[in-house]
């Protein structure tokens, strides 16, 4: 009869450890640990940096509802100077058909002479250009930016850059400087010259635009006025506004370059920097994957050597009735703590690097979180899983071969 007081023994790695030559070949084991740590750190840091670059350089453009808006013109060169460099209907269709362009709208300009003066308060008058674009493309559209036929008051959206320029030369001309809040109270007399004489409108600056460098009037006014004073339907536009998810999208920039379209450099210069940085970071990520693969290969050599040296003992354990599945799991589990520590250390170092980058390079700017992106943490967990699964599969394969 079976002895009564048998405490069921817990079979674990300690039971079989004396029968395995795990302590041998330490150098290759530690080199593979170090390699894995460096590889994982490089990979996590480069992925985090990739996310940072995308985040930082996306925020450089004035956005509306998650979209970037940029204006493009055809590049004027010595060769095409004097030709019609405006956008045809086909050009606009082609732009709209690109996957990275959500919408394109022409900027309609005045086909008649327009002149503005600011009355007695600001003794200043100038010929000027008027433009209009779909309201959807304007960053600041107040509710009163509309015009009905017969209405003599005309709302105007003025470029914030123009106001800045005016304030620079105004003192030298003896003109008063204007603040952003006071500019709305300036009465502008807008004179439109047509074949049947001059028509005056009372203009009011209802908003300033950071995005569009122009003097904008409601679209229906300009369409009407071009017919009325310019005696023409709306002609092709010289400027097109593009609505896109990311103004720095390399595909968009390559397309514009290929079409020889000129784009506001301020809006896209980050695109080129972004492309270069992304290439560098991607290269670093690729190198990191290579380092991880080499480290895992080195560790697999260590495992093969360990199992080869313990072959007789392992064979005897199997002969005695130890299950190959249990042996594989138990031997593989032995290295889970080592892998976990290595990957956690790499994750911690990446977190420190991210914090230092945000605190010291960006001076704690709100633009970037000082914490790791969730995706990077997920990647670390995924790498741990890959290491464990690869390790287990290899050990199982080697043990079943015995």
């Amino acid at each position: 009869m079976q002895d009564n007081k048998i405490a069921t023994p817990i079979l674990n790695f300690k039971t079989i450890a004396p029968y395995l030559h795990i302590g041998e070949n330490r150098s290759s084991r530690f080199f593979s640990y170090a390699g894995l740590a460096i590889g994982v750190l490089l990979l996590l840091a480069s992925i985090q940096m990739y996310i940072n670059i995308n985040h930082l350089l996306k925020e450089k453009n004035p956005r509306k509802n998650g979209y970037d808006f940029i204006s493009v013109t055809k590049t004027i060169t010595n060769q095409n100077m004097g030709k019609d460099n405006r956008f045809s209907g086909d050009d606009i269709k082609e732009l709209r058909s690109q996957p990275f362009i959500k919408d394109a709208a022409p900027l309609i300009s005045n086909q008649f002479r327009a002149k503005a003066s600011a009355g007695e308060m600001i003794p200043f008058s100038t010929d000027l250009f008027l433009e209009s674009v779909k309201n959807d493309f304007i960053d600041t559209v107040p509710p009163n930016f509309s015009w009905e036929p017969g209405q003599m008051e005309l709302p105007v959206i003025f470029s914030a850059d123009f106001l800045e320029m005016y304030n620079i030369f105004a003192p030298a001309q003896g003109l008063p400087q204007l603040s952003e809040s006071s500019v709305g109270s300036v009465n502008i007399i807008l004179e439109c010259y047509g074949p049947s004489g001059v028509q005056k409108y009372k203009g009011h600056i209802v908003a300033l635009s950071d995005r569009i460098n122009s003097v904008l009037v409601p679209e229906n006014f300009l369409q009407w006025a071009n017919k009325q004073f310019g005696n023409s339907d709306n002609s092709p536009a010289s400027r097109i506004y593009l609505k896109t998810i990311d103004a720095n999208d390399p595909a968009l920039l390559n397309f514009l370059q290929q079409k020889d379209y000129h784009v506001n450099k301020d809006k896209t210069k980050f695109g080129r920097i972004k492309q270069v940085l992304q290439a560098v970071v991607s290269g670093l990520g690729g190198f990191a994957i290579l380092v991880i693969l080499l480290a895992m290969m080195l560790f697999s050599f260590y495992l093969q050597l360990m199992i080869a040296r313990s072959k007789d003992n392992l064979q005897l354990l199997l002969t005695l009735g130890y299950s190959p599945s249990w042996l594989s799991k138990t031997v593989a589990k032995k290295w889970i703590p080592a892998y976990t520590i290595i990957i956690l250390v790499a994750l911690l170092l990446t977190a420190i690097l991210q914090y230092a980058f945000q605190q010291y390079v960006l001076s704690g700017s709100d633009e970037l979180s000082p914490f790791l992106h969730f995706g990077v943490v997920c990647l670390a967990a995924f790498l741990l899983l890959v290491c464990v699964v690869v390790n287990y599969t290899l050990i199982r394969k080697l043990l079943y071969k015995l």
Binding site: M1, Q2, D3, K5, I6, T8, P9, L11, T15, P18, Y19, N313, L316, L317, L318, T319, L320, G321, Y322, S323, P324, S325, W326, Y400
Partner: protein, 213 residues
Amino acid sequence: MHIQLENVTPEFLEKEKIEISDTWNNHIIIEQGERIQIIAPSGSGKTSFIHFLYAIRRDYSGNIFINKKNLRSFTAEDISKLRSAKASVIFQDLKLFPDHSVFENINIKRLLDPFHIEARITEMALRLGIKNKLHKLAKTCSYGEQQRVAIIRALQQPFDVLLMDEPFSNLDEANRVKAMDLINEEVEKRNATVILADLKKIELFTADRIINL
């Protein structure tokens, strides 16, 4: 345990030896609790017979059924279960871990599926006269001592069949008696089948059936 051999023939054995054998290429049924002695001259496949039953080798034609299940259909895990809880063996070549102590050699088997408490190892070693060797490396023991280690190791687990391949070949008469007594006690506790293979009849072993290989 019900063991059935159907036309089992080692692939490597000469035709003449197979023709004169009572076992090879025959139908043999061994019932639970039977005590069988296999008598086999050298080179007739005695060790192979034990290895076939213990699923170490498969280089035979025909089929072996363990509890009506063909041994060929056993997975690696099924074989582990067979070896840890159903069948125990004393190998002719002993198969000990030479660089581990006698105690470790016995206990590594006990830990797998313990039939006895650890203290029984010392009791058994005392009975077979190797208590003072428990903490010596197996490779430093004489062959007779190692044989006793292998016997004690085989008795640490539950089993339905005990396979023995020349288990007393290096033991003197006194130690043979002690070993046989211990084996009989343990077999009785488990109501197990015993298959003892040797070159000649072992008088100490009371067999229900003798089969010539």
